[in-house]
Symmetry: C2
Subunit: 607 residues, 2 copies
């Protein structure tokens, strides 16, 4: 039997005492902050605190005589290890016979019992699903209490970092112009007020930035918009003099972040309220729902108008993005050269290679932060979807096989993302076949021409065709939108093929930028991903309508050592040669070292 984990057991006992005090029979702790951000700060790691499991996905459910943690297949082994001796039961999601949390609660909760959770860290869809699944039971809810407040004594503080202001010149549109567009959409929806909870949307709209979420240049914030007010809720300590002066000037009314719930509980409603359920936490949404009912107005659940405005980049943003991607591409090109030159000659691990690349990026003028933790995966590690090398646990990179590097940064002028799989030694014919098909997929999508009205579902298959012909697929989307000095993953558009009834799809529009990243992952052997970022552009408008296409934003060589022409049609070869010609033309002027330039010439040669 595993040794008892008295630390966790002690914490759980304290939690149970708090539950009893608050009249809560079952308490749920998920993995999210108040805004469903991609990364949660330490303050929000309540689930980890009470069960020991620190993976990126897990939900802990506790009652007086039960504790269970639900996670997905990526984490079964890790969770089992980390929760040893805690008495917390592991529920392996999607395994046969394993109930969902809602099913478990339905089977175990008794009429009259109370389900509790902090409704600020539960998304509205999850909260509504609990309510729906438990609707046959006389269950009560307590959703406004974060029990960790009382129990977790050495809890880290809520992230709180200085905000900063981006100039209108850098943003291409002033806050005032953007706000006018949002208000015009509010009018269209028949709303006189709009609560916006999505952090990157608030940052985009205000031309402000912050640093409260890892790798996302955003501050924790809410915005409440009417036709004569714009109230921004942020932590007072984050508001620098510069930010305050800017807000005064442009008419942003500042209130403390922690006041938002009181505010929406009390503010006078003189018309319908626009609020996007997908982006608003359960407690906030429910509060607004009650308030609007009370006031005899409607809560209009419509897409945040900022979402599409943010996704379609303006001319200034596009100009800056193109420049930033080029300088980022130059760094990556130099890094590829460095890897190829030094592999087998100097000590190199996945971790030190990533450190090298991160350091090169950090030296660029305008560098702010990485846009996500660099993925550096050698050989078969690259086949693991969520592999993460750490300083102490990283494979040595030898002169054999390939190194996959997926990386990016946010600079003044844009956020980047790029993946290259670098040949560092001998590779098999099978790898070359897979590599060639991956490259063909990336270029086939990037060079496609399609009619306006297409969504990512229409064009995804262009990237998969060559792989599907070989009976290979990759188990991830082909592309995601990317923010402007914002989150590296943003919607509403994406490039995915799978159909889900009632799913939302966004039509591709000129000015959107999107990733194009097919891959091949062979467990225990190798992983390949080639990712360029492309910009949607107009190609032609004629009697049939408007034809769109993509322009590359990423210019970095694709490893010709892994290309086998026998799998390519003349047109495929032409696409690769054209791309490499552009890479050399764009990148070489920024390469001073003659050795690197010479190598680049060779690395981008026509085949």
């Amino acid at each position: 039997m595993a040794k008892e984990n008295t630390v966790i057991k002690d914490r759980l006992e304290k939690l149970r005492a708090a539950m009893a005090k608050n009249g809560i029979d079952y308490y749920i702790m998920p993995t999210s902050d108040y805004h469903n951000s991609e990364y949660s700060a330490d303050f929000f790691k309540v689930r980890e605190y009470f069960c020991g499991f620190d993976g990126s996905n897990g939900t802990l459910v506790v009652s007086q005589n039960f504790a269970g943690m639900w996670t997905d297949g990526r984490y079964f082994i890790q969770a089992e290890n980390q929760m040893k001796g805690t008495g917390v039961e592991l529920f392996m999601m999607l395994n046969p016979g394993v109930p969902t949390i809602a099913e478990f609660l339905f089977d175990n909760m008794k009429d009259g019992e109370t389900l509790g959770f902090d409704g600020k860290v539960i998304s509205t869809s999850v909260g509504e699903n609990y309510e729906k699944k438990l609707s046959g039971k006389a269950v009560k809810y307590k959703i406004d209490k974060d029990l960790a407040e009382d129990v977790w004594t050495d809890r880290p503080a809520l992230p709180c970092h200085d905000m900063y202001v981006l100039s209108d010149e850098l943003c291409g549109r002033s806050f005032k112009e953007k706000l006018a567009n949002v208000r015009s959409k509010m009018r269209e929806f028949g709303a006189t007020a709009h609560l916006l909870s999505k952090l990157d949307d608030i940052m985009w709209l205000t031309n402000l930035r912050g640093s409260d979420v890892e790798c996302n240049p955003v501050a924790l914030a809410y915005a409440y918009i009417t036709f004569d007010r714009f109230v921004l809720f942020v932590q007072e300590k984050e508001v620098t003099d510069e930010v305050r002066a800017y807000c005064d000037k442009v008419g942003i009314e500042l209130k403390d972040y922690h006041e938002v719930m009181n505010f929406i509980s009390e503010v006078k409603l003189d018309g319908n309220v626009l609020c996007d359920k997908r982006n608003t936490n359960f407690l906030t949404y429910k509060t607004l729902l009650d308030r609007t009912k009370e006031a005899g107005v409607l809560l209009k659940n419509e897409k945040d108008p900022t979402e599409i405005m943010k996704a379609v980049k303006n001319d200034t943003e596009l100009k800056n993005i193109r420049e930033v991607y080029l300088k980022d591409s130059v760094v990556l090109t130099k890094f590829i050269y460095w890897v190829k030159k030094n592999v087998g000659k100097i000590p190199m691990t996945e971790y030190t290679a990533a450190e090298k690349l991160d350091g090169m990026r950090a030296e660029l003028p305008g560098f702010i932060e990485l846009s996500f933790p660099t993925i550096s995966a050698y050989k078969s590690n690259a086949a693991m979807a969520h592999y993460e090398a750490t300083k102490d646990n990283a494979a040595e990179v030898k002169a054999d096989g390939m190194l996959l590097v997926d990386s990016g940064a946010t600079y003044m002028g844009g956020t980047t993302d790029v993946t290259r799989t670098i040949v560092v030694g001998e590779i098999s014919d099978e790898i070359k076949k897979h590599y060639t098909a991956t490259v063909m997929g990336m270029l086939n999508l990037a060079s496609s021409k399609f009619m306006e009205g297409c969504t990512g579902r229409n064009v995804d298959t262009f990237a998969r065709m060559a792989l599907w012909e070989m009976g290979i697929d990759y188990n991830h989307g082909t592309g995601h939108g990317i923010g402007y000095m914002l989150n590296v993953h943003e919607g509403p558009h994406s490039i995915r093929w799978r159909f889900n009834e009632g799913m939302h799809e966004a039509v591709l529009q000129p000015g959107m930028i999107v990733s194009d990243e097919p891959g091949v992952y062979i467990e225990g052997s190798h992983g390949i991903r080639i990712e360029n970022i492309v910009e949607v552009v107009e190609r032609e408008t004629n009697e049939y309508g408007r034809f769109l296409g993509f322009d590359h934003l990423t210019y970095a060589p694709i490893d010709l050592e892994a290309i086998d022409k026998k799998y390519m049609q003349p047109k495929d070869i032409e696409k690769l040669n054209n791309y490499h010609k552009m890479v050399y033309e764009k990148v070489s002027p920024f390469i001073d070292d003659e050795d690197v330039k010479k190598w680049l010439k060779e690395a981008t040669r026509a085949i």
Copy 2:
């Protein structure tokens, strides 16, 4: 001023008298039978009777001092001509400033007035749309009265033709087996009764056929299904002794077609009722809605379970379909030879060419009827989407340009559909370019390999890629499902690319058959369409999942005189050559005439 059309004016006066008698202020006459069939019989041509316009789409609205007819752009000129002197106003749908019918009624109807129509010829979605758009007005409805009954004295009878029975051997599944599957879906949906209104679904389920709708081998029918009854409503006169004996044997309870409304108004409901809104007329749906409310049960609006069962053909159906398509392909091949040999030498019009082909098909054993009126369009006529040559109005086919022929038939063993565009003389380089891209599109889709889970929206672009690259599109879907000895157009699957929020998509499954018919239409110059029917098949199942593809069902030569290799990649040429090799292998054994065989060899040569 146009000469008065006293015939129409007189009819309208009689209609207005009937309206007054029935307390109806506005009366709507659309274009549909009781089952929203693709073709309406003469009995249903009420709109034509009261305004003179006989196009395939139009809705007439009449009040005491107004008559207006709404139609789409295909018919503006025709409608104007046919309605001259009738006093009926033409409303050009989708033209700027032209109100929809609902908008017109909203603007013109007064509170307290009554809107009337025969709710049996209005689809539920259209009816609900009227109700929704007029919800701000105190408008009353009278939807159970077909005023033509009183006014149209020489009205043609409701179509009434003998039904017939297909053997279980021919259908692959007995009625009993199919019914068990339907009942099992009813259980899943929690329904104890199911009203089925869709004619081809009823025919498929019962293994019966009829001839009440042009080109569709269906009888006018309803089916009411519970766990212990199967009631089939058909016109008594259609029930032959054979049909009656079969129904007795398999437990089909026969009732007269005209009894259905009484039946559903009176039948005891002891549970929820399953009824697919999309396939049920407004009056029937509303009646059931009232009945279920009254009985305290639910009307479950779910997809008819028969829809997907019918679409996925069973092994027997597939075996027969393959044979029927081959014999149909042989006929088409011989016809192509006949056209090419005789053009410019004997008198030939679009109409006589179609007659020749129809006659050749009619001679085949098992021929039942054409699956749709043959489209035969010469040169620029082929660019018109809805061109129809008639005996008296058909272009002469000369030894110049191309003839497009889209045709098919229902035989014992399957329903076919195929298009070939035949070179009959000189064609331009531009035509060759367009023709080559169309063929590449057809073959590219047909030879694609894709993952299970794809719908038509994922693969449509395979057929368009080559055309889109040239900045050309076709303004129709790429593919539709096809019935088994049933309608030439059937769902739920299709191959289309356009996105509509909330649209229904069906995943492609092995056993489905679907058309693959890209085209190019240049107004005033030429029209090209190449259509093969393909069968969805499994290609491979491995660790990534199940890969599907298509097998050709159609084997007829593609005109090499219009192919220009310079637009093709080696892979495209290989696809064409492989297809032609199969065409020769499959078709030539059925060609006795050595001249034809020799020609076919040449027509299917590798290029």
